[in-house]
Symmetry: C2
Subunit: 415 residues, 2 copies
């Protein structure tokens, strides 16, 4: 055992034992106490945040980072709403996923239980501190939270509220443990299954890569989103245009934005109005020759790299294909397995696309931008996963639990 | 991409694309063709097996290994039955796990789909070749099979039948690809997510350790089984004795056998008859002082090591505890998370045990020996898992699939 008696991991593990036995009432009461503590300390939180902001400004951080870092009093109150929204969600723990009676009379139940101790490593945005703490508490998991140094004062103020709330509700404060760990210490923790059960990175590619490289415990992580929209031969123009514009431009810097538009040769005429509107939105186009001609708007010549790139920007690759099979082929080759959409009025084409695409989320006549826990109606999400095992797509409360089999008998033995 | 164009991985991946689109009928027809091919080649398989057995005998292998290696004509026919039993199982692929309609009219479905390419590394028993191939085919997964050199000729004969059957049914032979790989090559494959999606080791601790050490793709694996039976204060003697005897002696070398017996102080009188019967079965006892006195039968003094050891033999550690909480405490400390049982007539004690134990399988008044895909009614199992993520307990067909979200709309875009 690499963990010492009073290490953050040991404290979290002890708390996890208690959390696993709690009913919904006790957890929801603690969430309410956390919301109250945040309301109470609102001014102190904003003050701590001002300290972080000043330091970030002094060190020349980007305005994007400054915005992500900022917690004004309005955002603090929104945090309280978020905590109460989590309290309002169903408790996944104790749900009987399935159950049956065996011929020998044994009653088998597959029951949802907490995972144990989650390590969440996140960057900049201090609201993650409260979101993750709430979701872990609701699902009966203890958590180790390692935020970024740029949000240190804000996170400390928020964690004080979280732990005050837990204490006020009579629950172990160590259900949520702040983790001050260097990169080296972090590497050691994620290599030690006795320290935590799952790691969830919420941040950039460098962070994910670092954790994947060092982890010996499972990492729940989304690959980037090289997402596709495919306009089939019979795409309805009234659906095609808004879906493409929305998927590309509504928020180009996120993982569920569209990066490559595939167009059936027979649907090339649709590209005229789409190209014009994309150009109006300032989207840079990189197209093959056929698509370039149809787009009207200026475009660069696309190459292999463009198919493989997640631009996360107002850039769109456009490629012509001859069939839904060719579209599927392209996507299965270049996609990161996040979200893909087909626009078609044909049941056969939709079915072929849905069957052929192996990505976590497949859309028919809808924007890829819906891949999101909030949009899916989960109420909150802890991230998004493109992994094949365990959770895929938006990761909701139930996805940060596991199951155990409970088998009740009357003395049965195996023959 | 580390895989070359015609590498086993590339071939399996191409086949996986086809397999993912197949309905149950096509897969069941191929399973029948495989059973027919094995029946047809029965004599050749037994002959190939004789070759392996001769080599094993010549190299001085143990009689246990020789038995595991042996395939006589009766066992070959049992293999055909096993293939047909898999065909008779429900197809997990395409199952809608859950689904709902969003306020904006989007229809969300969570649909079961194959994982992709499974690598199964196994030792000695050649029946695993056919079992795993059948289960993978039924679940729409392609597989890379790496058997042991001691079963090389037998495995080759069986794989010929499997691939003949696939071909006869018009399916890609590369749905099942034999993998001849050195330890170094194996390490490279499991480190490459483009080569396979999941690794399943079926063999000893050294094999698991090797794969866990080198894998960058998920490993579905069972930790050893340090399993417990706890006799509560009010255990029914008529249940306690057969459960302890069954859990310890029915097959002591397997992972779901009991290794430590915990006894409530008030239940110590039960140990007299249990100790006598264990002694009759030749079980060596290692007990604390109180338990030793109650057992009657000769015992060694138990120490810390005994609580932590998976004996896999006719050895049983026995410890006295003062409460169900103390039993839970002991188990949560020493267990490998496999299977634990309580014997009690008290609802409160049973509930406390079930809630407090985090192992994959928790039994009330039944033997731990039931942790098994066959016993659970899965029809077949691909292994057993003590992991927290994805599959826990016996790993059935549905556990070697994943899900994707299919979202159908009428042109919805995100606001």
């Amino acid at each position: 055992m690499a963990v010492t008696t009073d290490s953050p991991s040991t404290r979290a593990r002890a708390a996890a034992r208690t959390l696993a036995t709690l009913g919904r009432g006790a957890k929801d009461a603690a969430l309410e106490q956390i919301a109250l503590a945040i309301e109470r300390d609102s001014a102190a939180i904003v003050e701590a945040n001002a300290e972080d902001l000043a330091a970030a400004r002094a060190s020349g951080q980007s305005s994007a980072l400054l915005d992500r870092l900022t917690l004004d009093s309005e955002r603090v109150l929104a945090l309280c709403d978020a905590v109460r929204a989590v309290a309002a969600l169903d408790d996944p723990v104790g749900q009987v996923v399935t159950g049956w009676r065996l011929p020998n009379g044994l009653d088998v139940q597959k029951v949802r239980v907490p995972l144990g101790v989650l390590l969440v490593v996140y960057e900049a945005r201090p609201n993650v501190t409260v979101d993750v703490a709430s979701l872990c508490l609701k699902s009966g998991n203890a958590c180790l939270l390692r935020g970024s140094t740029s949000a240190r004062a804000t996170n400390a103020a928020l964690l004080r509220c979280v732990r005050d709330g837990l204490k006020a509700a009579g629950l172990p404060e160590d259900a949520v443990v702040p983790l001050e760990a260097s990169r080296e210490e972090l590497a050691a923790i994620v290599a030690d299954p006795s320290a935590c059960d799952v790691v969830i990175p919420r941040g950039g590619e460098a962070l994910k890569k670092f954790l994947l490289e060092h982890a010996r415990v499972p990492v729940l992580v989304a690959a980037g989103g090289n997402c596709h929209v495919y306009l089939h031969a019979d795409a309805d123009p009234a659906k095609a245009l808004p879906i493409v514009i929305n998927a590309k431009t509504q928020r180009p810097g996120v993982c569920n934005a569209c990066e490559t538009l595939l167009v059936h040769r027979d649907a090339l005429p649709l590209l005229g109005p789409i190209g014009a509107e994309l150009a109006e939105h300032g989207v840079e186009l990189r197209a093959d020759a056929e698509a370039a001609a149809a787009l009207g708007a200026p475009s660069l010549a696309a190459d292999e790299d463009d198919w493989a790139t997640e631009f996360l920007d107002l850039v769109l690759a456009v490629r012509t294909v001859g069939s839904v099979e060719e579209a599927v082929e392209h996507i299965e080759r270049y996609s990161t397995g996040h979200s893909e959409a087909i626009v078609t009025e044909s049941i056969a084409a939709a079915d072929a696309f849905v069957l052929g695409i192996s990505s976590a989320c497949v859309y028919v006549n809808a924007s890829t931008r819906f891949t999101d826990g909030g949009e899916f109606g989960f109420g909150a999400e802890i991230g998004n996963s493109t992994a094949r095992l365990h959770a895929r797509g938006p990761v909701g409360l139930a996805d940060i639990t596991t199951t155990k089999y409970v088998v009740r008998g009357a003395g049965q033995i195996r023959a």
